[in-house]
Symmetry: C2
Subunit: 244 residues, 2 copies
């Protein structure tokens, strides 16, 4: 492996910075771990010992890399990171999915990953163009949730839909004809996909012909809800709803 | 009014930066508007005309202030802002409240204000120490929602509780004995307060003796939900629930 560089989206590896995300990667994506980085200030700490144990167990190198840690975390107090190979997985065809269409904000993406995992959804489809899910800011924002999930990137929504024809599709749209609570009251199938659009523009209007569009009713006093809030409410409600 | 300075929390005024938040302030907090700032690049635009009309209508000064706009927004493309006097209001004793105990993150605070307004809650109590709700970052993050709400800061929770003894209190706690859905199923009164703790530490354990603590059930795969997500789900569910 050549010398480590600042993160760029065209690299085939990225960084899980900070002890918590790093350990999530070491526990749940063992096969993707390439190297462990430690700060000289971690010398003699429990963190260092734990990281050295993982290095041993996974047969990867652990090295002191103060400069790289600072560069990829943007912080002086990041004491550990894992260099990991990017991954993609087939989604589980029998479980619910969250589909994010053109999400552009790193913070929202990390938060939505963490929320989906929090409510037991492990399968995430991202439709390009989208914020890079492997950017260290997303990995950190997700608190390492990424490493417990199956993630697949698609060039367009049709490619996703073709692979999972049995999923009931629920696009979330501001002007959808049915409110979410009414749709939930009818019961929902075991296989479904919750589809959320871009922060600024939402889903394109073609999605009004896809599956059963739903809206989250809100006051006319706000334009729209924040994307991660709308996704959080949608994911919570669907994962707590009665089955059809 | 002396010359404008960079925002500091001990000033008695702040800035609503960007056209949308500025207009929210001009429409909904007329009495707090002190001055309108315009960028030289806005000359001849509809935005400038609208701002000059408001200046006229509210009898305040509009001035060109490129340097101040850049300083308070941190951006080169902020073309308008309103300088407003900070305000506080008595909360409406007959309506639901959201109480934020020691929130520390500007982004979360802005998002929670916007979400509360989105679900029709206009009354917000903040328990100090807390992120400054008048910081331009919060104002902007709330998309100006702040100007449509009643906001009151308290030195401690007891001071809030004393003023609103008739509100049913619902502290959101990770280890609360009852899940939210069970509490909702019993119906809730017209006057209630949803109480959320700090991003990192949640609510202190004393809150387990306050009203009816509730938890949002989530997977053991995540430590906790993001604060603004938990608040979003709680506010959505309570504002859509049946009445006791």
């Amino acid at each position: 492996m050549p010398s480590l560089s600042a993160y760029k989206s065209d690299l085939d590896y990225s960084y899980a910075t900070g002890a918590f995300p790093a350990v999530e990667c070491l526990k749940h994506r063992k096969g993707s771990v390439r190297r462990i980085l430690l700060h000289s200030k971690a010398a003699g700490t429990d963190l260092e010992q734990m990281m050295l144990d993982y290095a041993d167990q996974l047969s990867v190198r652990a090295e002191q890399a103060d400069r790289v840690l600072r560069m990829v975390s943007g912080k002086d107090n990041c004491f550990a990171a894992v260099v990991f190979e990017k991954f993609q997985d087939a989604l589980n065809p029998d479980l619910p999915h969250v589909v994010l269409h053109h999400p552009s904000d790193f913070g929202n993406l990390g938060t939505i990953l963490r929320t989906a995992l929090g409510f037991g959804i492990h399968d995430i489809a991202l439709i390009r163009p989208c914020a890079d899910p492997f950017d260290p800011k997303v990995v950190r924002g997700s608190m390492g949730s990424l490493f417990r999930m199956r993630l697949h990137l698609f060039d367009d929504f049709a490619a996703y839909q073709e692979l999972y024809p049995d999923h009931a599709m629920y696009p979330f749209m501001l002007d959808a004809s049915r409110p979410m609570e009414e749709v939930l009251a009818c019961g929902i199938p075991d296989r479904y996909a919750l589809i959320f659009g871009n922060e600024g523009s939402g889903l394109p209007k073609e999605f009004s012909e896809v599956g059963q569009p739903v809206r989250i009713d809100s006051s006319t006093e706000v334009d729209s809800l924040n994307l991660s809030i709308a996704a959080g409410i949608g994911i919570y409600r669907f994962t707590h709803a009665g089955r059809a």
